[in-house]
């Protein structure tokens, strides 16, 4: 009795929930309205069956509840009824399957006028490639991937020369232009999914996969990895921007071809040194940073990271948040670098500065860790990208943390946690750091992990650090707790 009522109630609740629920597909922005229609059709058919079967169930449970004066019927089979039920079910199933297969036929048939772009997945970032003027993507191979050639293109392949490389999580495409998305992965499985476009496909290392769609709405759409790709899977986000022809061209003109990236001249150290003079006022002659002036350590930081940050400052991606006072100062300074050439020179110079380590005194005066073990445990999440020794990894777009001042690391982590840094939609890896920083749930956790980081001494530093007249051997690398006489000490 009660169970019949409850079943009817649950059916009613399900139907009402379905119609009043605010949680539904995000509005479509591609040509795949047929997919939505198939879902609607499926909903009607399955919904009717759901109501009918459970209505019948509830009726039986109520109507044929136990009665000691009644006896159940004896009816082993009813051929006619069984045949009818089979026929009806088959018709219902066919009614869903047939349109589904027709739409799938469209999905596997890429229109002839589709433009192609390639999406490249890696743990835990996206990048993209356009075929360039010749319309053909050049060959690529994992074996060719390195810092100079992150896409792994064959430098001898004529088709590869004009390929346009987009080493960024953000891709732009043209409104109403069908696109075929070719997919490739550098490491593990990933999945290209933009909920508004409705279609998705895995990126599989070793093979090339594809899908196609036509964007029908201008805007910026979030892209998610939807195939488990390791611990930071949930932070692997990208964006697809659907542009008008004009905007698209503006964006396209700013991109580089593979050949240009290979031929790019190195930064001029002499010019860079001159430019650095104005940086040195705060960051110090050796890039050692200065707490009193809130200037972080720059020495040891690679040019690609410095370049990205300077560009962010210049374009208000970083340093525009009201609460980021020091960022605002830096943004003003970055504007004094007039062009990309200036940025290239100055970052090349900074990258050429010897790596420095913080003095043990500064380390021990830094944040107090409850235990180094706690910091070490927390740091395992950071280490995948930033390296076991916090040395930074180009391949994962992660800057060096080792040697950085504790107070600076702390402020940045707090800024990430509070979305003061990284929330700008053009800050490619900012969202990721915002999400990762939230693993540090209180100040103690932040202090612990920083205490651990400041005690790391990457093996790559075990060279000679030359500064002024002092040549210092780093072969007697300081232990984590020990005193250092071998590494150049920088006071706080």
């Amino acid at each position: 009795m009660a169970i019949a009522v409850v079943i009817l109630l649950l059916v009613l609740v399900s139907v009402v929930f379905h119609f009043v629920s605010p949680w539904w597909f995000t509005p479509i922005a591609s040509n795949w309205t047929a997919i939505d229609d198939t879902i609607t059709l499926t909903f009607w058919i399955t919904g009717i069956v759901f109501i009918a079967v459970n209505g019948f169930l509830a009726y039986c449970v109520f109507r044929f509840r136990f009665d000691k004066n009644r006896r159940a019927d004896y009816e082993p089979e009813n051929k006619k009824l069984e045949v009818w039920l089979t026929v009806f079910t088959t018709i219902g199933v066919a009614a869903m399957l047939a349109p589904g297969l027709v739409v799938w036929g469209d999905f596997v048939t890429v229109p002839d006028d589709a433009e192609i772009f390639e999406v490249v997945g890696q743990q835990w970032h996206w990048s993209y490639r356009l075929p360039g003027k010749d319309g053909v993507l050049g060959q690529s191979a994992v074996e060719l991937m390195d810092e100079k050639n992150p896409f792994g293109l064959n430098p001898d392949d004529i088709n590869a020369q004009d390929d346009i490389l987009i080493p960024s999580n953000v891709m732009h495409i043209l409104l109403d232009q069908p696109v075929k998305v070719l997919m490739r992965s550098k490491d593990v499985l990933h999945n290209f999914a933009v909920p508004q476009f409705r279609v998705k496909m895995d990126l599989v290392p070793g093979i090339e996969t594809y899908l196609w769609f036509t964007p029908t709405r201008l805007g910026r759409f979030e892209m998610l990895c939807e195939e488990l790709c390791g611990m930071a899977h949930y932070t692997m986000r990208g964006q697809i921007v659907v542009d008008t022809a004009q905007d698209y061209q503006v964006w396209l003109d700013k991109q580089f071809t593979f050949r240009e990236s290979l031929d790019a001249p190195a930064g001029d150290l002499q010019l860079g040194k001159k430019l650095y003079a104005s940086c040195a006022a705060c960051h110090g002659d050796n890039g050692q940073g200065n707490e009193a002036l809130n200037a972080p350590m720059l020495a040891g930081q690679p040019a690609w990271y410095l370049t990205r940050q300077l560009n962010y400052y210049k374009t208000q991606v970083r340093g525009s948040h009201q609460q980021d006072i020091y960022g605002q100062q830096m943004a003003a300074m970055a504007n004094t670098l007039v062009d990309a050439k200036a940025i290239k020179d100055v970052t090349a110079y900074i990258a050429s500065l010897p790596t420095l380590a913080i003095s043990p005194a500064a380390v021990s005066n830094g944040p107090l860790a409850r235990s180094i073990a706690s910091g070490q445990r927390l740091f395992t999440n950071c280490a995948y990208c930033h390296g076991d020794q916090a040395q930074g990894k180009f391949a994962l777009n992660a800057p060096r943390l080792a040697g950085q001042h504790a107070w600076y690391l702390k402020r940045q982590l707090q800024n990430y946690r509070a979305s003061i840094r990284g929330a700008h939609r053009e800050d490619l890896y900012g969202t990721q750091m915002i999400m990762m920083s939230r693993l540090l749930q209180n100040e103690q956790a932040i202090d612990d992990v920083i205490a651990y980081i400041t005690r790391l001494k990457p093996a790559a530093d075990a060279g000679y650090l030359q500064l002024g007249s002092r040549a210092i051997s780093a072969t007697e690398s300081p232990s984590i707790t020990g005193q250092s006489r071998s590494t150049q000490e920088v006071s706080r």
């Binding site: 169970i3 409850v6 079943i7 929930f17 949680w23 539904w24 997919i35 879902i39 079967v53 459970n54 169930l57 039986c60 044929f64 509840r65 136990f66 009644r70 006896r71 159940a72 019927d73 004896y74 009816e75 082993p76 089979e77 069984e82 039920l85 089979t86 079910t89 199933v93 399957l97 589904g100 596997v108 743990q123 191979a141 994992v142 991937m145 490491d187 593990v188 499985l189 999945n191 909920p195 279609v199 496909m201 599989v204 290392p205 070793g206 996969t209 998610l224 939807e226 488990l228 790709c229 611990m231 930071a232 899977h233 949930y234 986000r237 995948y384 979305s419 969202t431 915002i434 956790a445």
Partner: protein, 584 residues
């Protein structure tokens, strides 16, 4: 059918006498069944606790410092693997299969009792190896229960060293255990049925277990080889599943392998696995419904053929798990068609369960409540399967919470509803006592309504586009803030449902010792297990005489017979002498 002399003649000399022989190194299928069940329920509780941790993170992100992305993925992975393999498969086949097969077909025991014992101890070993992975450096694997390479064995995935190796070893051991048990079940059903127990007189429970076991024997080898191949990739450096790739920026020495190959092997096992769990549940629920509705199961022959058809079809639908895996997209046509065809026999089973209730005389006992609850949850889960099976509808929904909600309804909640129905139904045979009815009803209502309040809203997170296996959604524009409150409410429901299971556990322990005495056939059921001389049945099951079967398993409310049921071993002559309690 012939009987060997030793089977027909009770020989007291081979009954075990010592405690160890009776309860530990027992070769009695009933004791082995209980050993299997207790182990499976224990490991299921571990998986339940893991799901609670997972739900805490999803419902209340950034609140629990002991859950980080790695441990979250480990909870997800171990929860899934334990529930599917070590709880459901082991409890349905190792537990209920073991207990019910010899009793329901009228055999004294499994045909290979020693092998049966070995099967349990091997299963226990696999569980120990599995649980050991929680204690190795790096912890258990966090690769997702599907264990997709390459990430499974690479840094960046938790438990990529000791954890994954122990997982693969444990699976291999489990498969050995299953094979020993499975061959036994199939042989027993084919060779040791009582006189008169033709195949088409077997209760649907046996048909379900029989077909599921055959599926298991054919499907598990695919998992075994993929586990071995992955282990070779990991330990020896072969490249079965590993193409040339980078790992966190560093090139590896693999070349030429195929990650999609693993997915084919995995799902060639993985989809039949769904039916390895579902078919025994289909069978058992059929018998529970017929018994408590006092009516024959409607369309018995169609039910049998539906089980067999589903079993057969389950081997040609596997790639519907891989529509967006990057396999040749033309496969989509084939697999969508086969997948939707399988819906037809499945739907017929649902109709037949409902039609069994039609003009029945329904005793609303606790097992019957769970059985009716099952029809509801299974209908829901089955219908959402039609979304995901239809390849083009799968595109937006694949890898979202819709999938999670669907498979939890269809192969989580539904088989577990049947397991509960079965436990409440057969507990009196196992112990001679009823489970407490009041606690049972409370358990039913909380579980039935509770699980629905978990999974109904979860489908809508999927429509919204929330991906599965995400530690946190983070700032995402297209997902409204309110989705988080939905997630929180799901978590609260889940925690309540989780705690209620402890009441069930208490009920089992309490009722084993203090429950109301049930007598040999409390539900007035027709099948042979209720006709044993002793309850609980003793070693050898039938004492001096093995039953002879005269009729099918569903002679309930036969017209012209005073009693509303005729046990399978009652001869036509005896029927005329029956009183209304079924005794002669």
């Amino acid at each position: 059918m012939n009987y060997t002399a030793i089977v027909d003649q009770p020989d007291e000399s081979h009954h075990p006498t010592s405690f160890m022989a009776k309860y530990i190194w027992s070769q009695d299928h009933k004791v082995i069944a209980i050993q299997y069940s207790i182990t499976a329920l224990f490991v299921g509780l571990v998986a339940l606790a893991l799901s609670a941790m997972m739900r805490l993170q999803l419902g209340f992100p950034d609140s629990f410092s002991f859950i980080d992305p790695s441990s979250y993925l480990q909870f997800v992975t171990m929860h899934g693997m334990i529930m599917v393999i070590y709880l459901l498969t082991a409890l349905l086949l190792g537990g209920f299969g073991n207990y019910l097969i010899p009793l329901m077909v009228g055999a004294r025991d499994m045909v290979f009792p020693y092998l049966n014992m070995l099967s349990y101890w091997t299963y226990l070993l696999s569980v120990i190896v599995l649980l050991a992975s929680f204690f190795v450096p790096g912890g258990p694997t966090g690769a997702g229960w599907t264990l997709y390479p390459p990430q499974t064995i690479l840094p960046g995935t938790p438990g990529n060293d000791g954890g994954i190796i122990l997982m693969l070893v444990s699976l291999a051991i489990f498969i050995v255990a299953f094979t020993m048990g499975g061959l036994n079940y199939v042989t027993t059903i084919l060779q040791a049925r009582a006189r008169g127990m033709t195949l088409m007189r077997m209760p649907l429970t046996i048909w379900g277990i029989f077909t599921a076991t055959i599926l298991g024997l054919l499907a598990f080898p695919a998992l075994l080889v993929s586990a071995i191949m992955m282990m070779l990739d990991k330990l020896v450096g072969t490249s079965f599943f590993m193409p040339a790739i980078l790992s966190l920026g560093e090139p590896l020495n693999y070349t030429g392998g195929s990650p999609v190959l693993f997915q084919h092997l995995f799902w060639f096992f993985g989809h039949p696995e769904v039916y390895i769990v579902a078919l025994p549940a289909f069978g058992m629920v059929s018998d529970v419904i017929a018994t408590h509705a006092r009516k024959n199961i409607f369309g018995y022959r169609m039910m049998v053929w539906a089980i067999v058809a589903i079993g057969g079809l389950s081997f040609v639908v596997w790639a519907h798990h891989m529509y967006v895996s990057g396999m040749n997209p033309y496969f989509g046509f084939f697999f969508a068609t086969t997948t939707l065809i399988i819906a037809i026999p499945t739907a017929l089973k649902v109709y037949n369960w409902s039609l069994t209730l039609w003009r029945g005389n329904i005793h609303m006992t606790v097992p019957m409540m769970f059985a009716i609850g099952f029809i509801f949850t299974f209908t829901h889960g089955g219908l959402t399967g039609l979304f995901l099976g239809n390849v083009v509808v799968d595109l937006p929904l694949s890898d979202t919470y819709f999938v999670v909600a669907h498979f939890h309804m269809v192969m989580g909640v539904s088989p577990i509803m049947v397991l509960f129905a079965a436990i409440y139904h057969w507990f009196p045979k196992v112990t001679g006592r009823f489970l407490h009815t009041g606690l049972g009803k409370f358990h039913f209502w909380m579980t039935f309504v509770g699980t629905y309040s978990i999974y109904l809203p979860m489908h809508y997170l999927g429509f919204l586009g929330v991906p599965r296996r995400y530690f946190a959604m983070g700032p995402t524009e297209f997902i409204p803030e309110s989705a988080q409150s939905l997630n929180a409410s799901i978590t609260i429901s889940a925690l309540i449902v989780g705690v209620v299971q402890l009441i069930f556990l208490f009920n089992i322990i309490w009722s084993t010792f203090k429950g109301k005495k049930s007598g040999p056939n409390p539900w007035n059921a027709t099948t042979l297990e209720w006709q044993t001389e002793y309850t609980p049945p003793r070693h050898g099951n039938w004492g001096g005489k093995i039953p002879v079967v005269y009729r099918w398993a569903y002679d309930y409310s036969v017209p012209g017979v005073k009693a509303d049921f005729i046990p399978q071993n009652v001869s036509p002559q005896e029927v005329e002498m029956m009183d209304d309690k079924g005794g002669a």
